[in-house]
Amino acid sequence: MSNHAHAQRYRCQLRQPAAERKAETHPLTWRLRDDGALIGIDDYRAKSGYTAVSETLSRLSQNDVISVMKEANLRGRGGGGFSAGVKWSLTLKGEEYPRGYLICNADEMEPGTFKDRLLLEQQPHLLIEGMILAGYANNSRLGYIFLRGEYIEAARAVSQALDEARAAGWLGNDVAGSGFDFDIVLHTGAGRYICGEETALINSLEGYRANPRAKPPFPGQSGAWGKPTVVNNVETLCNVPAILQHGAQWYRDLSGDRSNDGGTKLYGVSGLARQTGLWELPMGTTGRELFDLAGGMKAGHTLKTWLPGGGSTGFMLPEHLELPLDFDSIGKAGSRLGTGLIAVVSHQQSVVSLMRNLEAFFARESCGWCTPCRDGLPWTVKLLRALEQGAGEQGDIEMLDKLANDLGPGKTFCAHAPGAAMPLESALRYFRDEFEQGVRAPAVEARSGSAHPI
């Protein structure tokens, strides 16, 4: 009882009642119960669970599956937004290549993001079904769920579901009598943000330091243990069963004319909003609609700025709430959709402090492989802390500008530092006055007498 109560306390909050969630419109959450209880295999099966697997494996070839996925335009829900169908089409498959791995990236650690957790804790069979289908399409021999170590409740749910699925013949040799062999192993991570980067995740899975790998070669060419490997986010994989069950056109229609991206999205709100939580909404729902669902800001607060999808996305202004929350629209506005869980910032919060907090996280989570990230991020933290404490010096803001630029895309080994640079760059652009307040007046005396650190 006490264990159960403890688990309840941490359960993710889906803010849509069951009555509102339909199979036709809410492919990710329609089976979920209002009490948040785990959907076991019987529940899942009763609600057409594993139908997509039995139908697809007997009816469609690997290439058919990939064509459907491409057409559905399911874009990577981990934040990258890369077409899952295109990714799968690039995986090396065929007699001359070994059967590789299908990895579910469940290392959800993006600041302000808690969507995968919902799916993992309450409906792991949907993920398993999606992984079987993805494994089939990619000719994978084995699946791994790389789960964030702190997601203990999710680990319990996933383990149980794996046992159930294996016992029911959905995993193992000859999946559901199809002749396709596939199994899934749960791997819990040791707690590094960088493990969410797919190649760092692979290195970590292999037992090495979680340093990213250079691309090319991409994981589809040489992934885990050198074999063709596909890494997809939890939410991405959870979309697959419905797409194959109902078709690409149905999936695209879910977002209607709101967005070119297909399907629904698990959106969320965190921060000083009246009601934080998660909503499954059509792709392309505007920020305003989502913000209104959250009831706006808490009493006494007004919206200063918001992050569209995690700590590694660029700040947006209140007027940007009118934009559809999809990959292209937010990208055009100079930020990234990221995970689609917006974080709202009140006028009573300091952007400098917020940035210092974010950059401290990114600096700490740098793997230490490439110079700009390893040594540049700690410098930004120290400059921000100085500004926060009113001990900034002339030139500090310009140095932050330069660092934000130097840590940008193409200059670092992976996307970690560019992710840290994006909020910094936008914060400096939108809220420069807050940074300037942290610079103390220039000393009258020349600094020639000051000691430099040796």
């Binding site: 040489s222 492989w369 490439c370 110079t371 700009p372 390893r374 410098w379 010096e393």
Partner: protein, 909 residues
């Protein structure tokens, strides 16, 4: 071929390299840290950023890391582009954030890649004003010092130590800006190649500890091109001297031999040169056991001449650790009929057989670089990491190269190091090894067998027979050996280029014959491949070419009074035969003349001691085990700093002795003349005159400088002796001058390079300026000349196949197992080597120990050939039953054979 455009200039380059490799090879300067020509690219440091343009219409371009970008035809880049330059300046600024301002007290200063790159990038002031990250340092053993605060986190150390050299005990710990490179706890670095960290590290995290105690900046050292004397591989080295002492040894790039890396015996084993007890002046002792008196040169030569004139017959004992020239001059002095090689008969038989096999097996003798391009390796009776470490490192690269083949099949270029490693995982080229115990390469071997020497031979004979049925078959082959032989034969036959490695370490002619049969069988099946045979000492191969009687013969002539005088050249016969036998024979001689640079047991019994030059004080030629004649050059003149010393090359002493004996008017000799005489005397050595430039070689009309042009303090170095500065010593033997005056540049191709320096490049990375492409060959050709040529003609298979080994309870076979540290005569006289060496112990298999009723740690007495040796027992679970293992150097006179016994040392009552 590909054409690339760099800052508006077009260049033709080899396609498929990365841009950094291509640009550096073109002589263009791009700063870099994590890339290393032997270890490829990983894209970590971001220092080598350049601007790349899509085509001629692209004016914006984008930054790329040149090390991670392939050179394809029509690649357009700019190194000078403002954005690229500013980004590179940012990178160095980040790297310097926590780097201490300790250059003045840092031992890397003056040959520091980080200094060079910082200068190149123009970073000259620190804008970071916060606290620096600091680390604690570790004690890593006697060779390598650790100062982690200087680390710029380029990951080269672990990439070399773990990936390239197979080490296990150096790792990267921590994350973010707190990455620590060290051991999990303090302690001796275990790798035999740890010293390379001092050159691989771009700054002063890992420095040469042996240098530290007698530190001198690189620009204040005097260098000469030299050749390592600590084994037979012939690695090229750059010894640095100050105040008449060798201060450090740095790798000297040779495109076909050692390239960028040395073993730790070669790098840190030089201490014997600096020993205080070295003979510095001629010594005279009228009767054995008396104290010696010092003589001046003329008096010594007069006495020497008298002794030789009055002798009935003079025997000469040469040495495999002395130069060709010195051995030849000894042979000239005593006559060919009276010349002994100074090598014991058994080892000499092995050397002669190896020479014959190298010339007649039909497989060529590969260079070290060639070793790395073989795709199947069979090692018979050698633990390469102990007996010829640098070869072991190359064999490792050959085995690992399979990953590059796999990567090529997936369009991943070989320089993309991490991608190659991840794609290839543990897929290696096949390596098979047979040795009486575990070896340093077992970990990457497909199969390694522990077998007694005769069983190794039987396995080899069986392999040869399977490859070529005309090769003799092995009778009574058990099923296990048959299967093993089949597996090896199949792998060798299906290889593109198989390599057979064996040598004299076990002293087994049967093993060598078996290796020769495998090579011969492969050659007869028209396979291109290699046969590499390991010799023990620096000039073992060369001395075998000169030839002569074995050491036993020389001692016999003295013992039987057929000769009454002996001249011993840089040799301590007690290292090669039981001391008692040696002393008994020498006691019969009326006259013993010894020239050596070490105070050996034999030298102490000489009537006349002539102080010989070590490699540091003399010139000469050695022949390495790959049959390469290489010249080593005198580094310094010891009498400049210590005027009382009278050290000369042995060949010079021997020439002078001959002049004195014949009462010719004195006439000096120079290196060119003595080398030419040696070349003329032995057809096989005819080419040695081409091993390096002659003494008349000049660049721009001047000699080559031994000292960097910033060399300081010359006028005051001897001020404690006299305030007037004498003329610098003149070197008539070589094109080098004992001076900073002379040519030291890179633009005029030359083979003999004392030290690598180019404007802006003070670190060992300057070698890239001397090579035709980075990692390639010296532009003037690599030093030395190959002597081993294939001699076509009838060559029969070896047919003496030993019987299978059965363990007899009363018959124990003694095996002397080579060891890198402590197993070699001269380097064992260097203190750091002794500190590094594992304590000597007798090894037995647990089964043998049980039979003998002894246990681990017991003090044992080993009896063999009438000699006794006390050592503790160490159980070796890998060792074959019935063998007694003793590490080389534990008892100098030890050599392998049957009939040894061990007993527990009884506690004294």
């Amino acid at each position: 071929m590909a054409t690339i455009h760099v800052d508006g200039q077009s260049y033709d380059v080899e396609g498929g390299d990365n841009l950094l490799h291509a640009c550096l090879s073109l002589g263009l300067d791009i700063p870099y840290f994590c890339w290393h020509p032997a270890m490829g690219s990983v894209g970590a440091c971001r220092q080598c950023a350049v601007k790349q343009y899509r085509d001629e219409n692209d004016t914006r371009g984008s930054l790329v890391m040149s090390c991670m970008t392939p050179t394809t035809d029509n690649t357009r880049i700019s190194i000078d582009d403002d954005e690229a330059r500013e980004f590179r300046a940012s990178v160095i600024e980040w790297l310097m954030i926590s780097h201490p301002h300790d250059c003045p007290v840092c031992e890397e200063g003056g040959h520091c890649h980080l200094q060079d790159m910082t200068m190149m990038t123009g970073h000259d002031r620190r804008r970071y004003r916060f606290d620096k990250r600091t680390h604690r340092n570790q004690y890593l053993g006697p060779f390598v010092a650790h100062e982690m605060n200087r680390c710029i986190t380029c990951y080269r150390c672990v990439r070399f130590y773990d990936d390239y050299a197979g080490g296990k005990d150096l790792g990267a710990f921590g994350a973010n800006d707190n990455v620590y490179f060290g051991r999990h706890e303090e302690g001796m670095l275990e790798s035999e190649f740890a010293g390379n960290l001092t050159e691989v590290c771009p700054t002063g995290v890992f420095t040469d500890q042996t240098h530290s105690e007698q530190y001198t900046r690189k620009w204040d050292l005097q260098f000469a091109p030299s050749v390592c004397h600590q084994c037979a591989v012939g690695c090229n080295i750059s010894p640095g001297e100050r105040y008449g002492q060798i201060r450090r040894i740095e790798n000297r790039y040779h495109g076909d031999v050692n390239r960028y890396f040395l073993c730790d015996r070669g790098r840190f084993g030089y201490g014997y040169v600096n020993r205080q007890d070295r003979p510095l002046q001629p010594e005279w002792r009228s009767r054995r056991g008396e104290d010696s008196v010092s003589l001046d040169v003329d008096a010594a030569l007069d006495r020497g001449g008298d002794l030789l004139r009055s002798a009935r017959r003079v025997i000469g004992i040469g040495s495999p650790r002395a130069s060709l020239e010195s051995n030849h001059q000894l042979r000239e002095l005593v006559g060919a009929d009276n010349f002994s090689t100074g090598i014991n008969a058994h080892e000499q038989a092995c050397l002669d057989l190896m020479a014959r096999l190298n010339q007649t097996s039909g497989l060529e003798t590969p260079t070290l670089r060639d070793v790395e391009s073989h795709d199947a390796v069979f090692v018979l009776g050698e633990d390469l990491i102990q007996s010829a470490a640098r070869i072991g490192l190359s064999v490792r690269q050959a085995v690992l190269a399979r990953r590059e083949d796999i990567a090529a099949g997936r369009q991943v270029p070989g320089w993309n190091a991490e991608a190659v490693k991840k794609l290839g995982q543990d897929q290696y080229h096949p390596l098979f090894s047979a040795y009486p115990t575990s070896t340093g390469l077992d970990e990457i071997a497909r199969v390694s067998w522990t077998l007694a020497p005769d069983d190794i031979a039987r396995l080899g004979f069986a392999v040869a027979h399977l490859i070529d049925p005309a090769a003799p078959a092995v009778d009574d082959l058990d099923e296990h050996t048959e299967a093993a032989a089949r597996q090896i034969a199949d792998a060798l036959l299906s290889a593109r280029r198989p390599l057979v490695v064996s040598g004299g370490s076990l002293g087994s002619l049967a093993v060598l014959h078996a290796a020769g049969n495998v090579a011969r069988a492969l050659a007869r099946r028209a396979r291109t491949g290699g046969l590499l045979l390991v010799r023990r000492e620096a000039n073992s191969t060369g001395l075998a070419m000169i030839g002569g009687q074995p050491l036993e013969w020389a001692l016999g002539e003295l013992q039987e009074h057929r000769a009454d005088a002996v001249v011993i050249l840089e040799n301590d016969p007690t290292q090669r035969l039981p001391a008692e036998t040696v002393h008994r024979a020498l006691d019969q001689a009326e006259t013993i003349i010894v020239m050596d640079h070490q105070r050996t047991e034999t030298l102490q019994r000489a009537n006349l001691v002539l102080p010989a030059a070590s490699f540091a004080e003399g010139d000469g030629t050695l022949v390495s085990l790959e049959g390469r004649a290489q010249r080593f050059f005198q580094v310094y003149d010891s009498s400049y700093i210590r005027p009382q010393t009278r050290i000369h090359e042995s060949w010079r002493w021997l020439h002078a002795l001959r002049i004195s004996r014949e009462r010719y008017p004195s006439a000096d000799i120079d290196l060119d003349a003595v080398t030419r005489a040696c070349a003329n005397a032995y057809p096989q050595l005819a080419a040695i005159v081409n091993a390096s430039a002659g003494s008349d070689y000049r660049v721009h009309g001047v000699k080559l400088a031994r000292e960097p042009h910033r060399y300081s303090g010359r006028t005051s170095m001897r001020a404690n002796l006299a305030v007037s500065e004498p003329r610098t010593p003149q070197d008539a033997d070589t094109p080098f001058a004992f001076s900073m005056e002379g040519y030291n540049g890179f633009d005029q191709p030359r083979r003999d390079v004392a030290f690598a320096w180019a404007p802006g490049w003070n670190s060992p990375q300057a070698w890239n300026k001397f090579t035709d492409e980075v990692g390639g060959h010296l532009r003037a050709g690599d030093p030395g000349v190959r002597l081993l040529a294939y001699e076509p003609g009838a060559y029969d298979y070896g047919r003496e196949i030993p019987a299978a080994v059965t363990v007899e309870t009363d018959q124990w076979q003694l095996l002397v197992l080579p060891r890198l540290f402590g197993g070699e005569e001269t380097s064992s006289r260097a203190a750091p080597i002794n500190e590094r060496a594992a304590p000597a112990a007798i090894t037995l298999s647990p089964g043998s120990a049980e039979q003998l009723q002894v246990s681990d740690g017991d003090e044992l007495v080993l009896s063999f050939a009438g000699q006794r040796l006390n050592l503790p027992l160490r159980l070796d679970p890998s060792l074959v039953n019935g063998l007694i293992g003793v590490p080389a150097g534990a008892g100098p006179w030890l050599f392998g054979g049957a009939g040894a016994s061990v007993t527990r040392q009884e506690a004294r009552s």
